[in-house]
Symmetry: D2
Subunit: 351 residues, 4 copies
């Protein structure tokens, strides 16, 4: 498969550039006969869209989705469910001054090296806007997973060095950084606002929990459930690492500590993060991803132009000083896609 | 594709159980006309085989490879290159006592949940022995990459809490833990030997560097080079996390710090780990993986049997107290597979 | 891959129902830097569209394409090239009377059996309108093939029992049935007009020639060039068979007759149709497909409704009494897709 | 996927050259817990093997299969089921005289053009021996299909111009040409024996019937059941065409004739061959393939050598003057693979 398609039996193909006419997604393999409407999907879109609060980009691009095909009388038909989002707040001219220069941290240089040409407007295909397509598809997967009793929640656990100490699920959607600890959330917002004034940005960590997955999901040897989740997460531009369960802490643990012992009730710990041998154990699946600081900053930086000449660049425009709160729904969406796809593969294998 | 196949244009399919007749791999998409022989591949096999030193399992399973097809008169033909490794040191009876119980940390429980049946002998398909097939295939990829000027090296940077302070590439293959720091290596060996006596095990961290990749390799949006490397690494049973470049440290960095600024000579830092937007930058590709402590320990552990009854289990047999030194060639092999495959995809895209 | 995606490295995904909002296609793996515009693609669309002549459906659905992404300043960028065709001449109410009945020859019954639900309006996804997406994608492939010196032409050789005796390439696009023999074309038109009056329809045969393919294209063992062309052609709803070179006539030939002997100039015959062992020989690739009579006829037919009750049905609406002339550009498009994809796979293999 | 892999969820990968060490197949996606043993598979192998009668090649290559992995205590485990056939009757020296020349009708020329190198011994990878791997895999698929109530039978309907007039299923395996008409069978044998004496060969037609498939199997738009069957059949080296149901005869039929009308009992005819819109109708699936005359003949033929010099060639060795009887089990095997795979895809889609 070419690189813009993801999944085997629940398969999505995304398309569209940030400042082109539209972005969108084709979802193939959708279970037929399931009720779904634009409003259900829009809820997820609104969690990802810019301009939600003081800590996100003030662009007024309203991520309104349109279902183009694949439903009939309010139900899925099993044919490709396609969703399009027209780009309405395009200001390509805002990018004229970076047409011939490479912004540090952005894919400007690598795209040009790969393709020999590039649509420089707002990062083109490499823009975070591409993830809107993923969130739309993820909402469809989420709908199917609801029927299976699976729920997926992600949230910020760290921003700019400030860590959550508590896990209070109810507060996640109630604070602008989607942190799981309300006290930490307040400090995170302050931190981001200060960075915004300074024209700088910061990174963070997002954690995800997948609940309700029965033991036995995941396809060894290569399509292990954690392997596919890792691919899904690292395919999000801003994410630079992932760890499951105890994660990197396992490097300094003993086997007698790390092994999740079993008793009649199940596992007495969950250092494995709910996956052993690439297959779900039935425990909660837990992973964390690291989100790099937003590349677009207005602090002057050294770079080169397309002729290799050195210059100083200042990235203007409307950007998020910390992308964590908007990455949260994207992480959930990608997790939904992976899990739903694995359910379908499992069904095929067992049949 | 089903789960035992990996890669798109340089594609491998592995097969075989730990204590069955053989394990092996079919490699499809091999460039024709390339000289390769069993001796070249065997060098890599010998780096992964057990019994290399005091810190690895004393099993005398000699991983002798046989090329069954795909070469003619010492050269690849472009047809499937298949390699088989007969299992010679099988002692399935050694596993009789775990036939009906689930060893903590192992995939015993999850395989039975997934398939309803399992080959319990030495973990069957879930055994680390499956990675022998990967190393064989990785050697073929390595041969092709040599022609492109790409080299890949992995090494241990941490074991049981002991961290390498130096990076001296020459010492890696000269110490039994394949650490990049000879002083740390000595302490790591001592630590492992002590754990072996105590019947326990420990985890560690392996780092990998990929050199010589020109800028422009990697397939957005989903088949990003880092996304595919992440999948490849997490498909190794013992690996529970991965990070690229600055990795998890990026969570507490500022954008002005993390962004790799450019000058006429290239990048002035490499926090991105050689990949931006999923595409290689031309800088060294650097990632780290966390290796969990070996699950097989002789410390008594609580578990249940297949009837759900609680029991205490002690895993006997010949096992590695720390798997890091033997994971190193597997990490390299998987990286070779991903990079070679991406070169072929790039060739297809540009053609 | 799910069923609405075709190709490996030049990959298309089509979407959309006949009487939904739009149909379209996402093309992934397009070589970057190639000049292409909507006008170039539109030429092919206009060859497939209804209402071209007295022998095609009078629907005024103007197949206007819109490129949504994947080009920049008139050139391909290597990102997904997406094309959408809005449905403008929708008359879903025209299909109300067949909502609950199965039209003989149509996929009404099978879609309902497969999915449990169906969009009955104008056959929904099973409509010939889906092939508009293919023709659009095929035009992009054709553009890439031009650079390789490959050209593909298809034409009608038989309609309603009337066979072409001559092959005059220049006349193909000059007669409404796209026949390669002007005399036969006149009789074919008369035949079709008579059938239209009678409310009946007829089948025919379309032949395709692929020129300029160098020897060596095609991927054994399963992705043979003829195997993939066969799949491509049989994926067109109206096509029920395919034969290469001598085809079914080979059943009564001797080996000494059928074998294409070679001399210094090449092959002295082409019974193989330009493909041996699944790989192109360098000779012209020739195949023929059989096109079934259009299923929509106004002659009364027996059928059942969704409750299994017998009834008589008369298919109203605007339909082509013989679909051959409009299948011709679809056959060409699918051939373009297969050949372009194989060029890219060959490039990957050899690299 | 690379070209030696077939199928999506029931996936096979074949390997091996005719005169190398072995041929074999890896089958991935096998339903776990199904009883299967070597004897069950061997029955099918023996139907394909040479030396069965006066009309097949006298080579004594006994196609003995070995299951290497994927079963445990007589049942499938869901892990890759691998089967190997060691080559025991290798006489590579018999091919020395054709090392540098291209045999007409064989893939000698095309393989060399494609890969730049070739294993000339007995056609190497392009040998009919590769189909032994397919028959082994097909037997596994057949076993799974038995549980679904699906049966598949193929048989010869025409050889060297002699056509079957009757269809008597019981006689198929009782005559050496596997014809469905005992009178025709006698004439076919005479014809083949005469051609063998003359050093020539002939072609024929094989028909296949798939029974017990419920309505609703097949994946539109591209992975239609007939499209995938067509690819599967054309991937068999000797097959040059396929037609479903009425097939090429549809070219001269009217819509009112060809449409399969329905009544309360089902379809009143089966011109569609059991598939409409790429989806099974529930009627018997019927298709025919044309088998070209065996390319290896001892009649002198013109050809060129690898330097382009003209020469006369006489193909020695032990060959089948008509390959139809041995193609029959290969056609069945490929049909089994396609149908089983589609059942698994259907299960995934509906889940």
């Amino acid at each position: 498969m070419a690189g813009n398609t993801f999944g085997e039996r629940f398969q999505i193909t995304t398309f569209g550039e940030s400042h082109g006419e539209a972005v969108g997604v084709i979802i193939d393999g959708v279970t037929p006969g399931v009720e779904i409407d634009e409003a259900y999907i829009q809820v997820q879109m609104d969690r990802r869209k810019p301009g939600q609060s003081s800590v996100t980009s003030p662009r007024k691009e309203y991520d309104k989705i349109h279902i183009i095909s694949g439903t009939f009388e309010g139900k899925t038909t099993g044919t490709p469910l396609s969703i399009i989002l027209y780009n309405t707040d395009m200001r390509p001219e805002a990018y004229d001054d970076i047409k011939n220069s490479f912004r540090p941290g952005h894919a400007d240089f690598t795209y040009l090296q790969k393709y020999g040409v590039r649509d420089h407007r707002g990062s083109g295909r490499a823009s975070g806007r591409e993830t809107a397509s993923r969130v739309a598809a993820g909402a469809v997967a989420r709908k199917l997973l609801e029927r299976r009793g699976v729920s997926i929640v992600a949230y910020t656990t760290e921003i700019g060095g400030i860590k959550c100490r508590d896990f209070i699920e109810d507060v996640i959607e109630a604070n602008p950084v989607r942190a799981c600890d309300p006290d930490a959330a307040i400090k995170m917002v302050e931190k981001i606002e200060a960075l915004a004034l300074a024209g700088d940005s910061c990174g963070g960590i997002v954690e995800c929990r997948i609940r309700g997955v029965h033991p036995g999901l995941g396809e060894p040897a290569f399509d292990k459930l954690d392997a596919e989740l890792a691919k899904a997460m690292l395919s999000i531009g801003a994410i630079k690492g992932i760890e499951f369960g105890a994660g990197f802490a396992a490097a300094s643990m003993l086997g007698s500590e790390h092994n999740d012992q079993m008793n009649a009730e199940g596992f007495s710990s969950n250092h494995a993060g709910g996956i052993i041998g690439g297959i779900s154990t039935g425990a909660e699946i837990v992973f964390r991803v690291v989100v790099k600081p937003t590349s677009s900053i207005s602090v002057p930086q050294n770079t080169i132009n397309i002729n290799g000449e050195e210059k100083v660049i200042v990235t203007k425009g409307r950007h998020d000083p910390c992308i964590c709160p908007r990455v949260v729904p994207v992480v959930e969406a990608m997790a939904c896609l992976v899990v739903e796809d694995h359910y379908k593969r499992q069904a095929a294998m067992l049949y």
